[in-house]
C-alpha cells in the first residue's frame, strides 16, 4: 500500500472524482473546503439579497413573514457556519502545513472526515427548505421561539441536528490543527517564530475546542425539549429560557472571534510582505491574539444586558467587554506600524487588507459602544446592531478573506488574479458594503427593529432602506466581478512563479502549486521571517538528496464511509430510529476499517 512520492516516483492516480473523494492531501481538502465555503457564501448572499429586496420599500411583498424568517435565519447560519468558517478552514488546511514546513496535518484521514462531515451538515441544513421549512428562529434560536409550541415546523429540528453535525466537523478539524501546530513544526521554528496566521489559527482552534461542547450541550437539551418533552427552556414547566441564552453565548461569543481571527491572521501575513518590512511588534500581536482568545470566554453576557442580569454581572461583563477592546486596538496599531515607513506595494490584496483595518475599526468602535449597558439597551435588537455585526463580519472577516484569496491565489493555482479587474471588484465591493451597512446605523438609531419583515411608509425609514438595498446589489456585483476574474484567470497559463510577492514565510519556498509532499527537504528555520533571513544572509536552500524517497499517506475511502454514517444518524434523529441504527452500523464499520487500514 505504500505510496512513494518522491522526485522520481511521482505517480498514483492524481485526477478524477475518486481521487478527490478519497484524498487525504491537506491541499486538496483545503481546496474543497474553500470552494464549498465560497459557494455557500454565494447562497447566503442570495438570501441576503432577497431580504434586502423585501425591505427596499415599505410594505414589501417579495417575501411573506414566514419565508422572511426562514431567509434571515438561513442567511446567518449559512454565512457563519457554511461560508466564513469553511473558507477559514480552507486557508487553515492549505497553509498550516505549508507555513510550518510540514508535509501534511497530524491526522490526514481525520482531516478528510472533517471535510465530508461538514459537507453533510451543510447539505442537511439546506435540505430543510424542501422538507417542511427552514429554521426560522434566528441563528441564536432563542427560547421559547425555538420551542415546539412556537416553532411547529421541523425547521428548528434541522437547526439542532445540522449544527450538531457541523460542530462535530469543526471539533475534529480543530483538534487536528491544534496538534499539527503544536507538534509538527520544523527544526528551529519555536512557538515565537510561528507565522502570525498560524498563531491566530491556534487561538481559533482552542476557542472552538472549548466552546463547541457548550453549544453541543445546549443543542442536545433543545433536542430533548422538542422531541422528548423535557423542559430545559420551556417556562411553562419550570424551565428557564435565559439558560439557553447563557449556554448559547458562551459558545456564541468565542465564535465571533473564530470568525474574525483568521482574517486578522491573513492581514498580518499580507501587510508585512506588501510593505516589505517585518511585522511591527510580533510578540505584541501574538499576545493580543491570545488574550482576545482568553477574554473572549468572559464577555458572553454582553449579549444579554437587557435580560435583567442585575447590576453586578452587568458591571463585570461591561468591564470585560471594554477590556477586550484593548488587545484588539493593539493589533490595529501593529498593522499601522507595519505599513508606516514601508515601501508599500498597493496591489488588490493590500487594498483588501487596508480596507479590513478601516472597516473593522468602525465595527469595533460600535462594538465598544454596546459594552455600556445603558447604550446597549437603546441598541438592542435594532438595526444599529445589524450595522455593527456586518461591519466586523463583512468589513472585517470577508475583506480579510478576500485579501487572503488575492495573496495566496498564485500559490494555490500558479496564477495571479487579474489586478485591474481585482481593483474594480474591490472598489465595487467597498462602495457596496458601506452603502449597505452604514445607513443601518441611522435606521437603528431611528428605531427600526431588526428581524421585521416589513414596515410602514410614514416611519422615516424609507430612504436609508432603499440606499441599503441598492448598496447590497452593488456588493453583489462586486463579488460577481471577482467570479469573472476567477474564471478569466483560470484560463490563463500558470506563470506566476513560486514567489511573486517576495514572501517571508515558508509556503513561498516551494513550487506553485506545491507538490503533494510540499517540500523536497523539510526546511530549517532561523528567524521569524525565514525566507527573508536566508535571502539577507545568503543562505542557499538545502540540497535535495539524490534518492529522495518521501512517503505520503495513501488515499482512504473510510472518511467518506464514516461521514455517510454520521449523515444517516443525523437524518435518523430527524425521522426514524431505524435510519439512525443503520448510520451507527456504518460508522462502526468505517471505524473498524479505518483502524485496520495500513497507513504507510
Amino acid at each position: 500500500m505504500a505510496t512513494a512520492i518522491g522526485m522520481t516516483t511521482h505517480t498514483q492516480e492524481e485526477t478524477g472524482l475518486w481521487s478527490w473523494l478519497t484524498t487525504v492531501d491537506h491541499k486538496r481538502i483545503g481546496t474543497v473546503y474553500a470552494v464549498a465555503g465560497f459557494l455557500f457564501f454565494l447562497l447566503g448572499g442570495l438570501e441576503a439579497l432577497a431580504v434586502r429586496t423585501q425591505l427596499a420599500v415599505p410594505n414589501g411583498v417579495v417575501l411573506d413573514a414566514d419565508r422572511y424568517n426562514q431567509f434571515f435565519t438561513m442567511h446567518a447560519l449559512t454565512m457563519i457556519f457554511l461560508g466564513v468558517m469553511p473558507m477559514g478552514a480552507g486557508f487553515f488546511n492549505y497553509f498550516i502545513p505549508l507555513q510550518i514546513g510540514a508535509r501534511d496535518v497530524a491526522f490526514p484521514r481525520l482531516n478528510a472526515l472533517s471535510l465530508w462531515i461538514f459537507l453533510s451538515g451543510g447539505i442537511l441544513l439546506n435540505a430543510s427548505f424542501f422538507l417542511g421549512g427552514a429554521p426560522n428562529g434566528g441563528w441564536f434560536g432563542y427560547a421559547p421561539l425555538s420551542s415546539i409550541e412556537y416553532a411547529k415546523t421541523s425547521g428548528m429540528n434541522f437547526y439542532v441536528v445540522a449544527l450538531l453535525v457541523l460542530g462535530l466537523s469543526s471539533l475534529m478539524a480543530s483538534l487536528n490543527f491544534a496538534v499539527t501546530i503544536i507538534n509538527m513544526r520544523p527544526p528551529g521554528m519555536s512557538m515565537m517564530r510561528l507565522p502570525v496566521f498560524i498563531w491566530m489559527t491556534l487561538v481559533v482552534t482552542f476557542l472552538l475546542i472549548l466552546s463547541l461542547p457548550v453549544l453541543t450541550v445546549a443543542l442536545l437539551q433543545l433536542y430533548f425539549d422538542r422531541m422528548w418533552g423535557t423542559a430545559f427552556f420551556s417556562p411553562a414547566a419550570g424551565g428557564d429560557p435565559i439558560l439557553w441564552q447563557h449556554l448559547f453565548w458562551i459558545f456564541g461569543h468565542p465564535e465571533v472571534y473564530v470568525l474574525i481571527l483568521p482574517s486578522m491572521g491573513i492581514v498580518s501575513e499580507v501587510l508585512p510582505v506588501m510593505a516589505r518590512k517585518p511585522l511591527f511588534g510580533y510578540s505584541a500581536i501574538v499576545f493580543a491574539g491570545a488574550s482576545i482568545g482568553v477574554l473572549g470566554f468572559g464577555v458572553w453576557a454582553h449579549h444579554m444586558f437587557t435580560t435583567g442580569l442585575g447590576p453586578v454581572p452587568q458591571v463585570v461583563f461591561s468591564a470585560s467587554t471594554m477590556a477586550i477592546g484593548v488587545p484588539t486596538g493593539i493589533k490595529i496599531f501593529n498593522w499601522l506600524g507595519t505599513m508606516y515607513g514601508g515601501n508599500i506595494r498597493f496591489v488588490t490584496a493590500t487594498y483588501y487588507a487596508v480596507a479590513f483595518i478601516a472597516l473593522f475599526t468602525i465595527g469595533g468602535i460600535s462594538g465598544v459602544m454596546h459594552a455600556s449597558p445603558p447604550v446597549d439597551g437603546q441598541h438592542q435588537d435594532s438595526y444599529f446592531v445589524v450595522a455593527h455585526l456586518h461591519y466586523v463580519l463583512v468589513g472585517g472577516a470577508i475583506m480579510g478573506i478576500f485579501s487572503g484569496i488575492y495573496y495566496w491565489f498564485p500559490k494555490m493555482t500558479g496564477r495571479l488574479l487579474d489586478e485591474k479587474l481585482g481593483m474594480i471588484s474591490f472598489w465595487t465591493m467597498f462602495a457596496g458594503l458601506n452603502l449597505t451597512f452604514f445607513p443601518m446605523h441611522f435606521l437603528g438609531l431611528a428605531g427600526m427593529p431588526r428581524r421585521i419583515y416589513t414596515y410602514d411608509a410614514d416611519l422615516g425609514w424609507d430612504t436609508w432602506n432603499m440606499v441599503a438595498t441598492l448598496g447590497s446589489y452593488t456588493l453583489g456585483i462586486g463579488i460577481l466581478l471577482f467570479l469573472v476574474n476567477f474564471v478569466i484567470t483560470m484560463r490563463k497559463p500558470a506563470d506566476a512563479g513560486n514567489d511573486p510577492w517576495g514572501g517571508a514565510t515558508l509556503e513561498w519556498a516551494t513550487t506553485s502549486p506545491p507538490p503533494a509532499h510540499n517540500f523536497e527537504v523539510i526546511p530549517e528555520v532561523r528567524d521569524r521571517d525565514p525566507l527573508w533571513y536566508d535571502r539577507d544572509h545568503n543562505i542557499a536552500p538545502a540540497v535535495v538528496p539524490e534518492h529522495n524517497h518521501i512517503h505520503m499517506p495513501p488515499p482512504s475511502y473510510f472518511p467518506l464511509i464514516i461521514s455517510l454514517g454520521v449523515l444517516l444518524i443525523a437524518v435518523g434523529a430527524l425521522s426514524h430510529l431505524a435510519v439512525t441504527a443503520l448510520g451507527v452500523v456504518i460508522v462502526l464499520y468505517g471505524i473498524w476499517g479505518w483502524a485496520l487500514e495500513p497507513t504507510d
Partner: protein, 198 residues
C-alpha cells in the same frame, strides 16, 4: 485509535506523540461538555415543582457501591498500562479485561438505578430533577459505554498475532487517559448529586 500516520513515528516538536496530545486536547473539550451539563444540573437544583425529589429517591449506599466499582476500574487500568509499558502482556490483558468488566458492572448499576427510579415515578419529563439527572448521568454512562467499547477493541487487537504493535504502551496510555477522565467526572457528579445535601 490506530490513526498512525508515517509522520507521527518521527520526532514531534513537543516530544509527545500526536495522538496523545490530541487525547489531552479532546479531554479539555470534554471538561466543558460536562461542565455545561453539571452547571445545568446545579441551576435546576431544588427547582422541581413536583416530586419525587432527590432526597426521597436517591439510594446512596447502592451508588456508593457502583462508585467503588468505577474507582477500582481506574486501578486496574493503571495496572494494565503498567503491564503494557513493562512488556508483561499477560498482566496487561488480565487487567484490561478486569477494567472492562468493572466498567460493565458500573453500567449495570446505572441500568438498575434508572429502572428503579422509573418504577418509583421519576421519568425524564417528571420534573427538573428527573430531566437534569437523567441527561447528566445518561451522558456520563454513554461515555463509560464508549470507553468499554474502546478498551474491548484494544483487548481484541492485543490478541492478534501482531498484538498492539510497537505502539502498544502508547495505545494503552491514551486509552487510560480517557478512562481516568471519565472516572474523575463521575467523582464530581457523585459528589454533587449524591453527597452534597441540598
Amino acid at each position: 485509535m490506530a490513526a498512525a500516520t508515517h509522520e507521527t513515528e518521527h520526532h514531534t516538536s513537543t516530544g509527545v506523540d500526536n495522538r496523545k496530545v490530541m487525547m489531552w486536547t479532546f479531554l479539555a473539550s470534554e471538561c466543558l461538555f460536562f461542565g455545561a451539563l453539571i452547571s445545568t444540573y446545579l441551576i435546576y437544583q431544588g427547582q422541581s415543582l413536583v416530586g419525587p425529589y432527590p432526597a426521597e429517591i436517591l439510594n446512596i449506599p447502592v451508588t456508593s457501591a457502583s462508585t467503588f466499582v468505577l474507582l477500582m476500574s481506574s486501578l486496574t487500568m493503571v495496572l494494565a498500562v503498567y503491564g503494557a509499558q513493562h512488556g508483561r502482556l499477560g498482566m496487561m490483558k488480565l487487567m484490561l479485561l478486569s477494567t472492562i468488566l468493572l466498567g460493565i458492572g458500573f453500567l449495570g448499576f446505572q441500568a438498575y438505578e434508572f429502572t428503579e427510579f422509573v418504577h418509583e415515578g421519576l421519568g425524564l419529563t417528571t420534573n427538573q430533577f428527573g430531566m437534569t439527572f437523567f441527561v447528566l448521568t445518561g451522558f456520563h454512562g454513554t461515555h463509560v459505554f464508549f470507553g468499554v467499547l474502546y478498551l474491548l477493541s484494544l483487548l481484541i487487537a492485543s490478541n492478534r498475532r501482531t498484538g498492539l504493535g510497537r505502539d502498544r504502551a502508547l495505545h494503552m496510555d491514551i486509552a487510560g487517559l480517557y478512562w481516568h477522565f471519565v472516572d474523575i467526572v463521575w467523582i464530581v457528579i457523585f459528589t454533587i448529586i449524591y453527597l452534597i445535601p441540598h
